[in-house]
Symmetry: C2
Subunit: 461 residues, 2 copies
């Protein structure tokens, strides 16, 4: 195998080189992401309104679009040191297999028990809840990575953790559920009879297997109805992208340390937390006119919010209890097909990512899931790591870029985010191995129902 | 949290500090491990005889008890660099939780897709098979970590991989099976109708759920009956301990780099590959009279080969097709209870570890599985990592040592081997979480059957 001089397999940072501040890309955006709206008044949500649902300091971070750097509290830094810096790996074996002149790097966030980057924000949100003197937090989880991450963070800090898990996942992914329980979380299949909204849904739709939207509604109600509890969310929000900027900051520091400048930066995009976190500091350089990069968001063809969605104000949840966010959306009523990339089955997209995409700073592509699993298998065999289906979307796009470089002879440097591992996704791999995995691309007619549910008010079209 | 000056959470080595030679502890043992015997002649197995089953260079390594250092081929070094150096972590959070003056370090081998240290030897054995121009290798797997590791190594080198998986595991652990299939391995539930010995067993015991002994017999037959195939094994053998010395060498290098000297070194022990690999270089120092350490092997009470076994020649497999090895054994006919530490359910113990234990260099303790899972849960909550049941035996012993230090006020430095992750062991965690896990300690009467099957010949008692 050909190795570059001075470029090891893993571009390692020392522990004391882990960033001590998060980077807030909103500070350098000319067009700021639009504020969250109160659905009753259509006025921007105030800090007071948001504080009923979220922790105070997280509300500050949510609303702060001017400070570019925000200190990471020491206790969060200590926790980060348990599993960070995350490896930045040169994909020498994949390059050789593809016989490409391109240089491929990936930032691997799966080397922790949550199996993904979600832990970066989970510990931050749990910390601020603890700091505020709260007893506990509530949340929802679908595929289970966010719920696992939050359970770990709460166990570490001694905070109560209540997770509403989409019922179909609760039953089909018992192992994820047990990981959360091992960390002491209370996991409830949603819809449940523990909340008014859950009981209402159960009455109207007996036998329903649940949805993320319903689980969000239950988690929000559970937080509101218990003294000393707040609701936390694993993606979409500005605060989450802020915490996830640790991914990009570390990647940037490691690349600078070894004198490498990426040309293309690729991330999978569901709610946007990983993509936004990875690209933030590089985007900052681009926004400030210091360097140029090509950014690519990769989403599943079955849930194409960027490539086929509308840039409007929409509900963040199916239950329509949350504020309105301006984002690329398929409509909160859109039900994505049962793809195996559970973490990418969200109807909307982070307002920050949406605004950057709308302003032309980010490109977007979509792939069908069999294409994605082909890439996952190739990657696993070359690079050893068994990737999560979500992460494999970025792998697919990186491979296609590298193959294009082979055709054109360009020696591009490609960086992509490998968000997590697929150990709890073996049902999907089994289908792929058996040749029984199918693809689904929604027709325009399929999308119409979701679009029809987008709230109508002046300026929202 | 109190942090020591100059001791980070993770004692990191650079890639170029990964050892380039394995350490062969046999070279410094006064009493060498006894040679393997041909069961027909009761004479030591010759290199020629062993070469019918194993690759040539592995046979050399198996028989070499004089060379202390053996070069690691460049291609294996390259592969090691994909997932090594493995982290050596200071367990600050666990220390704080235990309120102990002891300092606890663990060498974590679970940050690769095989989920354990098994990959260290799998890549070596696959490499030598490839180097000899073979087409493929056969093996057996129980819990599945070894089979996964070998599948990964073979996929990387383009070698065919045939795994005989104990039927009950094949059915109960479909996810492990799918990981192997994703890496291109052919996985056959054992006993199967693909071998004569499998067909014989199926005829005699229709409906049997298989055993490791039976799977070994099938894998050996499969290797012998196909041109260009050899059999490989994931533990017990001298060659495996040699490859696994990379664990101890890295740990030693990292500790030296930061000026730390352990007092107690702890590893779980099934076949002995992890324990032997971890302790080898430290044991070398002790054998050469340079430094002193306390070594502790930890085994399950349900399969107590060191603490209750006999040090005699015995068959390595239930099918009695393999050579005789002199080791601590419960008898090849001993059927351990269905504990959840599948990787520790082996009737015997590495001849190297057995000899060192017999000569008083290693102590051994045993624990019941609920004690082990209590330790696993505490560790997961403090340190984030969800440990494998096997590894958790070492955690239990390390915690007990640290608690003893609290009582005596001793500031011992404890090093233990954290061999892997428990992501595929959630059925066991679920039982523990639900309070339905039970313990089993065999009575003397239970052990008698196994002992009765040990071959009788002069000197073997």
């Amino acid at each position: 195998m050909k190795l570059d001089n001075n470029i090891p397999y893993k571009l390692i940072l020392e522990e004391n080189e882990i960033p001590k501040q998060w980077y807030n890309v909103r500070a350098h955006m000319k067009n700021k992401p639009a504020p969250l709206l109160n659905p009753a008044t259509l006025k921007p949500m105030t800090a007071d309104e948001l504080s009923a649902v979220f922790c105070r300091q997280l509300v500050e971070q949510e609303l702060d679009d001017t400070n570019p750097y925000i200190d990471i509290p020491q206790e969060i830094q200590d926790f980060y040191r348990m599993y960070r810096p995350a490896p930045l790996v040169r994909a020498y074996c994949l390059e050789e297999k593809l016989d490409t002149p391109a240089k491929i790097y990936y930032k691997f966030e799966g080397n922790n028990t949550s199996g993904s980057h979600k832990l970066n924000s989970a510990i931050a949100q749990a910390y601020y809840a603890k700091h505020q003197g709260l007893k506990g937090v509530t949340t929802e989880t679908g595929a289970g990575q966010w719920g696992t991450a939050l359970s770990m963070a709460c166990a570490y800090l001694g905070l109560d953790c209540q997770v509403y898990m989409v019922k179909v996942s609760y039953e089909q992914k018992p192992f994820r559920r047990e990981v959360m329980r091992t960390y002491g979380a209370k996991v409830t299949p949603s819809p449940s009879d523990t909340t008014a909204v859950g009981r209402k849904i159960l009455k109207e739709h007996p036998g329903t297997s649940g949805s993320l939207g319903c689980a969000i509604s239950e988690a929000v109600e559970a937080a509101a109805s218990q003294e000393g509890y707040r609701y936390v969310l694993g993606s979409v929000l500005n605060q989450v992208l802020l915490h996830q900027s640790i991914i990009g900051l570390e990647a940037q520091a490691a690349l600078n340390k070894y004198g490498v400048k990426p040309d293309v930066i690729i991330g999978c995009a569901g709610g946007g937390s990983n993509l936004g976190g990875l690209i933030s500091p590089f985007m900052g350089e681009k926004l400030r006119g210091e360097k140029d990069y090509e950014f690519i968001a990769v989403e599943p063809s079955s849930c194409p919010s960027l490539t086929r969605g509308k840039f409007v104000y929409d509900y963040c949840d199916t239950g329509m209890v949350c504020p309105l966010a301006k984002m690329y959306t398929l409509g909160s009523g859109f039900i994505p097909s049962a793809s195996h990339a559970g973490g990418l089955r969200y109807h909307g997209m982070s307002p920050v990512v949406s605004q950057l995409y709308h302003d032309g700073y980010i490109k977007a592509v979509s792939y069908e899931q069999t294409q994605v699993f082909e890439a996952a298998e190739l990657f696993a065999k070359c690079e050893g790591i068994l990737p999560a289906p979500e992460s494999s979307h970025a792998i697919r796009a990186a491979i296609d870029q590298a193959v294009k470089c082979k055709e054109t002879g360009e020696e591009k440097t490609i960086l992509f985010g490998l968000t997590g591992t697929g150990y709890f996704d073996m049902v999907a791999y089994e289908k792929f191995n058996n040749g029984t995995m199918t693809d689904y691309i929604p027709t325009d007619e399929d999308l119409k129902g979701g679009f029809d549910g987008i709230p109508k008010f002046p300026g929202n079209e």
